[in-house]
Structure formats: C-alpha cells, structure tokens
Symmetry: C2
Subunit: 156 residues, 2 copies
C-alpha cells in the first residue's frame, strides 16, 4: 500500500515539534515533548543532519536546529532523507540496484513515469503544511512566524 516506514512517520512528528521552538533542541528534549522514544529520535535527527535538513551542535547546550529556512523544506526532501531516492521499484536508474533481467526487461525505465509523478507531487507538499495549526492559520502568517522562530534559533 505504498507505505513510508515508521521512522519517516516519527520524523514528521519530531520535525513539527522542532518547528514550534525558537532555539536548538536536544534529542532528549524532543523525545520528551514528542513522546517518541529517545533512541529512535536520536536516529532520526542524526540522519536528518547528515542529509542537510538539520544542523547539529555538540557539547553542553548543543542540539538540533533547521539548517535552512523551514518553509522551503518539502515532504519529498524529508522522505528522501530517511528512505533514500523515491523509487517505486528496484528497476529505476537512480536506485543503483537492478534485477537480473534489466537488459531484456520490457518494463525497464517505464516505472520512471510513476516515480517522476510521485516525486513531483511530494515536492509540492511543504513540511510546514503538516503542522496541525497550518489549517487554521493564514498561510502567509504561518510562513512568517516560522521564519522568525528560525532566525531566533540561528542567532542564539
């Protein structure tokens, strides 16, 4: 049924929590406020930092924050950060792996139409649209509030 894995699901919960703050947040802090177990939160944050969505600071008072303005982050990026390239089958160019019949396979390359279509639709859903308050707020207000929080977190 075309599922994303649970880690990705949790990631959105944690990221939304992070969107609500205006400073760096430690993994332990986010675990407490989101209800997701610490080791899991930790795994997610590390991965998101590795792929450039978040940035991390070590040491006392360290933690995680967005590496760039959160309003510009799409769900496609979040999903790809945690699951790798969007590819509905193994038989696509980007995914490296290929079945043993690639060269004679009549389907070769055709699922790409599907991949591209999905990828495009996910590019158009922004992470901040996943925030519960997104449905009650004016989109411009939302974008501004998020940008202000991000600026505050960056200078702190």
């Amino acid at each position: 049924m075309l599922k994303v894995n649970k880690l990705t699901d949790y990631a959105v919960v944690v990221l939304c929590d992070l969107l609500r703050g205006d400073r760096l947040r430690s993994a332990a802090d986010l675990a407490t406020s989101s209800g997701v177990p610490l080791p899991t939160v930790s795994k997610i944050l590390k991965q998101l930092a590795r792929t450039g969505i978040l940035q991390s600071a070590r040491g006392v008072n360290g933690g995680y924050g967005f590496a760039r303005p959160p309003a510009g982050i799409s769900m496609a990026e979040v999903i790809e950060a945690l699951e790798g390239p969007i590819a509905v089958t193994g038989c696509v160019e980007e995914s490296g792996e290929c079945c043993e019949f690639v060269h004679q396979c009549p389907m070769s390359g055709h699922w790409n139409a599907v991949n591209v279509a999905i990828r495009k639709s996910l590019d158009e859903v922004r992470l901040i649209d996943m925030l519960p308050e997104a449905r009650f707020m004016d989109p411009e207000d939302l974008t501004r509030v998020i940008a202000e929080r991000h600026a505050a977190a960056m200078q702190a």
Copy 2:
C-alpha cells in the same frame, strides 16, 4: 523508499503482455510469455479479476481478459487492486487501522495531504503508458489499436 511490492511490479509486466493480445489468455500462457512464474502470475490475475480490472472465464478455452477498455485504466487502480488503498502511513481515515494514540496524535489526518497528492499523480498515469511501444507511437494510434484488440477479445 516508497516501494510498491514485487507482485505489483510483475502485475504490470503481465498486464502489458495481455495488452498485446486480442483474445483471452490463460495464466499458463501469460506465465510463459512474460517469464514470470506461473503460481505468481496466477495469484496476480486472480486478484485483478476480483477487483474488476480483469474478467475471467473458466473451463477449457477459458482465461483472462480486460473487463473494460484498457485505455481507461490508471496505475492508481492497478496499484490499489494489488496493495489496497494508497496510504503512506497507518494513520489515515481510509486504512481502517490506527495507532494507539490516534486521539491525542497531533499528526492525525495530516498525512492525508500527502496521500491525496500521490493518489492524484497516479491517477494521471495510464496503464497503457507503461507499454514499451508507448514512447514510439502516437498516443491516439496507441489508444485506437488497444481498443480494437480489446473489442476483438470481447467478441471471441
């Protein structure tokens, strides 16, 4: 990585094979010409018949054919036939199942934006677009040829 399962992958191979014929095809016949193992082909065809994409005829000279004009079948239908409703997480209305925190879950319902976006994009990719010859043929010619084959299969 947002994969469809292998059965769905094979299903497209088998369906494309079926698109090339102008008569009912038995499971054994399709297995031979597509290279997919018979028990697997059989499983796929049964499921596709159950969900109304194909129709079956029993007995000697029986087999499978499209239940309606193939040009009208979308990839969304094929995927849903084999995997159930398109739902990237368990926490969505259509999927019945829900995590234990549904009522307090701040994400509840938000993945729906993603589901709807994906579903819409898959509605716009037609099964016949997956045919290898689709890229070399004029779309109208393709549609007509497919319709003629289907008509022939239905009256036979």
